[in-house]
């Protein structure tokens, strides 16, 4: 759509700008303040320069948390995207079952995150939980509070449970925008199932898939509440992701300098990756 040049449009944007700036600029400046200075309370600050940044960037603890975070985000994207596409492709497209499927599938998305954690904690308890009890009675030794592998599998499975529906709903939206004629034409041409997917369905899903991957990347990179409630970051530090580590440092140990420096690095990493996604997406949209 060709847009008219109109500088007065700024007035329409102003309320949003003020509200978001209030919430974004002031706290961000607080973080910047703490990141470059040392404070002993009483509003006295001493310039520290980049000491905290160097400290964080060199610490094994940060590296480990970052690696865990990247591994986690990579794993859930690798599972949720194909699974989401698969479910969306097989979902009914017409009739009364569509609403039933959509409502049931969207349900996990609207459960408060700590309830998701608590629910999976209850579900996975080795002795009395549905999952834990079933696995153990099948002869599989499973205890997510003690075994790192079990803790990881449970955390990943929880995220798959929680968020795959987002990918499903997005892909479904893309698929339902394909006119029936396309399928009929493909049928007449004798196209295989794979050819239909590759040349009709996948191109239509490209844009929504970019949104899905962007949203899933952002949210999984910031994940805090669910794994915190489920495992508390344990056993040991094996499921301590970036946000959990940050909160531990900031509110647990009250090391404000390193915590603030870590916050900024963390934010920049998210921003950088999202910027790449966003640029790709906008380029697609302009085409």
């Amino acid at each position: 759509m060709n847009k008219t040049l109109n500088q007065k449009a700024w007035w329409l944007v102003a309320p949003v700008l003020i509200l978001v700036a209030f919430n974004a600029f002031i706290p961000l400046m607080t973080v910047v303040n703490y990141a470059f200075q040392e404070t002993f309370g009483n509003n006295e600050f001493f310039w520290e320069g980049t000491t905290w940044f160097e400290q964080v960037l060199r610490s094994d603890r940060f590296h480990d948390a970052l690696i865990r975070q990247l591994l986690y985000t990579g794993m859930i994207l690798a599972i949720e995207v194909p699974l989401g596409i698969g479910v969306a492709l097989t979902m009914p497209r017409k009739g009364p079952w569509v609403s039933v499927c959509l409502v049931l599938m969207a349900l996990p998305l609207l459960i408060p995150w700590n309830v998701v954690g608590a629910m999976w904690n209850i579900f996975a308890l080795p002795d009395i939980g549905l999952l834990g009890h079933t696995l153990n009675s099948m002869g599989i030794d499973y205890n997510f509070t003690r075994q790192p592998v079990a803790a990881w599998m449970t955390t990943v499975l929880m995220d798959v449970w929680h968020w795959t529906s987002l990918v499903v709903l997005l892909c479904y939206a893309g698929l339902s925008s394909i006119p029936d004629d396309y399928y009929q034409a493909a049928h007449i041409d004798g196209a295989s199932r794979w050819a239909i997917f590759r040349y009709i369905q996948l191109p239509k899903m490209k844009r929504v898939l970019t949104i899905a991957i962007l949203l899933r990347f952002m949210d999984s990179f910031m994940i805090y509440t669910e794994p915190f409630v489920l495992t508390g970051g344990g056993p040991g530090n094996t499921t301590t992701f970036l946000s959990i580590d940050l909160v531990k440092i900031a509110l647990g140990q009250f090391d404000l300098g390193p915590a603030a420096a870590m916050s900024l690095i963390y934010f920049l990493v998210v921003l950088l990756i999202c910027w790449v996604f966003y640029t790709l997406m906008m380029r697609n949209e302009e085409q």
Partner: protein
Amino acid sequence: MTHPRKWLIPTLYILFLMLPIYGLLAMSFKTTGEILGGFSFFPQQFTLANYKVIFTDPTWYNGYINSIIYVVLNTVISVTVALPAAYAFSRYRFLGDKHLFFWLLTNRMAPPAVFALPFFQLYSAIGLFDTHIAVALAHCLFNIPLTVWILEGFMSGVPKELDETAYLDGYSFPRFFIRIFIPTIAAGIGVAMFFCFMYSWVELLLAKTLTSVDAKPIAATMTRTASSSGYELGLLAAAGSLTIIPGAIVIYFVRNYIAKGFALGRV
């Protein structure tokens, strides 16, 4: 569509989604003794005692009321300010529009953990700590950008001729916007409200940091119970089960638009 195997994947997927929810529901109807006594698929001594505690103890049911108050406040604020902004982004070019749009989105990318402590200091300093409006305003950080994004998507789907015809017919901007434009994108507004509700309802970290007693959300009440009184799993399960209901009601209302909404109106 009639292929029998086609039903298998969605059915299995939905079954997988329902199992943990069933586990929670089943536990909420059990007595503490039964829960700790061992695993049972169905509640053996069916009890409503856990729910009775929640509906009679003010520290419990006030949690739900607090959560609903700030979620509604946030939804109203976000959609009201996002409507004109989304219109501006979808219809006009102006100085710095693209940069502004991306900057708005960066706020959706800010990890709440980064902002928890500064938010606490900011809202304490302006005297709003432990109020509903504080949580509602704080959630605007990520809800306004998302709302603008969704509404802009829906508005871009409305042909510009609609605006031009209305202006030719002598409509002023506010009158056109309220009388003609808003009804046209009603579905988009519904979807945007759904998303505001969803993200504000499920968020805990900021809501917990900004409240202590008067505006404490249900989610925070649950974490307290989980840690302080040990193994009150039945009560926790009942409280958790009840938090699913508002979401289920909201989904039911927007079920026909939900797929399009998740695509941010861009299909």
